[in-house]
Point group: C2
Chain length 308, copies 2
């Protein structure tokens, strides 16, 4: 009997990542495409199905050897029906029945969820949140995504939209956010906002990588920027900690690479501002699975759906 | 065979309420004592056990007819071990093994939880949140308490401290809160803060009842105060709505009696500031069980523990 595999897909505003994984969720092969090179919805859908066929073909696999396709998607979706409500950062998607479209094209079962949810699932099962009871996972990038794992299960809310930590307001008044809200965390610490702040302070363009390097070399301006980011993130996490009393907070995404200086500022804010029982109960850790977390989480989703 | 009953206790900073309930959680008899007349810990514990014996005696009931005693307590506790960590508004309680003390005195099983959790349980099973999937319940009084019911079960967090909506900061900078935090919701809309605001605006003492009455008669100053309270409460609820995607938010406690003007302002804030999918999914309703919710919730706790 030929062995079985899973396809894990992580669609982002920047990259379309497709992996072939074995049943232990180890990545055997992966392809990365540029999302923005597929301008129309149709061409992006074709790129997804072509990539699935290509990665199977490259490995000499037949359809019956694929347990299922898992997809992490960057926006609000109906996970049960497999419908994309919309993608904030990819234009042209409104109420798209993506599950049915791909299943019809490929005759392989398709399951989908929010990308941050799948990252959280991966970190819980195989990464930094293993063994925790109440886990809160964040990805800090262009957007600030979040996923909640309560007692081993993804918490999706009443309409699959839970976990939007990036859109918890940290001030009554504040910058307008893309989501329509005011003073959302993302409007303070999204990639672009940090880079805007750095440009204002350094009077030139500074990449996040350089900003992290500068801070590690004790550049005072850079240190101050990361401390500010950490304290703003910390305030949103005080909200989360007092509300949910988690034992583990996992922080991933590019911005998390700022490292110790960011994490110290987050922890200091939680310890000084959260309630004592909740603050003592929680540890804040860096994500372990890096850029693969989405694809690994997508494969875990397939396993949980097929074998539930 | 004699029928069985449950004792439900709701201990607050102001009142100690004790009820005898039947197995359908209907209150058959209740006593209300003034908490502050028992200054020492020992005398408050004796008042609790004496009241239990008295309510049984008044009804001619034997111990074997009491299924158990449920207690709602106003502070962080270890619900499994039955230990009170402390009460913010009743001095002298630190790490008290209250469950064991009462069980030893009375030889009846004792179960306990946070008072806001039990109010939430009662509103979910028998009140305004019936049938909801993800319910968030608030009590607005001297303090602002909260309880979370996810898919029919109380969500207690990793160390029984979840649900502290009153201590979610709504501003980075803001008033210092009793909990040690900064800018917590409670430090804006706790009873005393609303009355302070009213005194400043009316240049005299105004009770909450009067403030509600004035607003209902279209007094502009009073209307403005309630709109402000509603919008601050609304911002904390935008945090909760974007994070948890609830389908029902129940608001109870004295402050909720301000009625339509408060609820309209809360709803307007959620609709204008929360994410669209989450804002559409949630209804905001007034609590149904009033001052009895804590005792009813305590009796539900006993049933769930004895019959689990």
């Amino acid at each position: 009997m030929p062995s079985k595999y899973i396809i894990g897909i992580d669609l982002g505003g920047t990259n379309l990542k497709i992996a072939l994984l074995d049943l232990s969720c180890r990545i055997k092969k992966k392809h990365i495409l540029n999302t923005s090179s597929f301008i129309r919805k149709k061409s992006l859908i074709r790129a997804i199905s072509d990539s699935v066929l290509k990665i199977m073909d490259d490995s000499g696999l037949k359809k019956r050897q694929i347990l299922g396709i898992g997809m992490g998607l960057p926006g609000p979706i109906d996970a049960d029906r497999g419908v994309v409500h919309f993608f904030p950062n990819i234009p042209g998607w409104m109420e798209v029945g993506l599950k049915k479209i791909i299943e019809k094209k490929l005759s392989i079962p398709v399951f989908m969820d929010n990308d941050a949810n799948l990252m959280a699932l991966a970190e819980y099962k195989l990464g930094a949140a293993r063994g925790s009871k109440i886990a809160v996972c964040l990805t800090l990038g262009t957007g600030v995504g979040g996923g909640l794992i309560f007692e081993g299960r993804l918490f999706r809310g009443s309409s699959f939209a839970a976990g939007e930590i990036g859109h918890m307001p940290i001030n009554e008044k504040g910058p307008e956010c893309n989501c329509g809200g005011i003073g959302c965390l993302e409007s303070y610490i999204g990639n672009r906002r940090i880079m805007q702040l750095a440009q204002k302070i350094f009077k030139r363009q500074v990449s996040l990588e350089e900003l992290s390097r500068l801070a590690k070399n004790n550049n005072k301006k850079a240190v101050k920027i990361w401390e500010k980011v950490g304290s703003q993130l910390g305030i949103a996490l005080v909200q989360v900690v007092n509300l949910l009393n988690p034992d583990c907070i996992v922080i991933g995404g590019g911005v998390a690479n700022a490292g110790r200086i960011l994490f110290d500022s987050v922890e200091e804010t939680i310890l000084s501002r959260a309630m004592i029982v909740q603050a003592k109960a929680v540890r804040v850790v860096k994500a372990k699975l890096g850029n693969d977390a989405g694809m690994i989480g997508a494969s875990l989703l397939v396993k949980s759906k097929i074998w539930s």
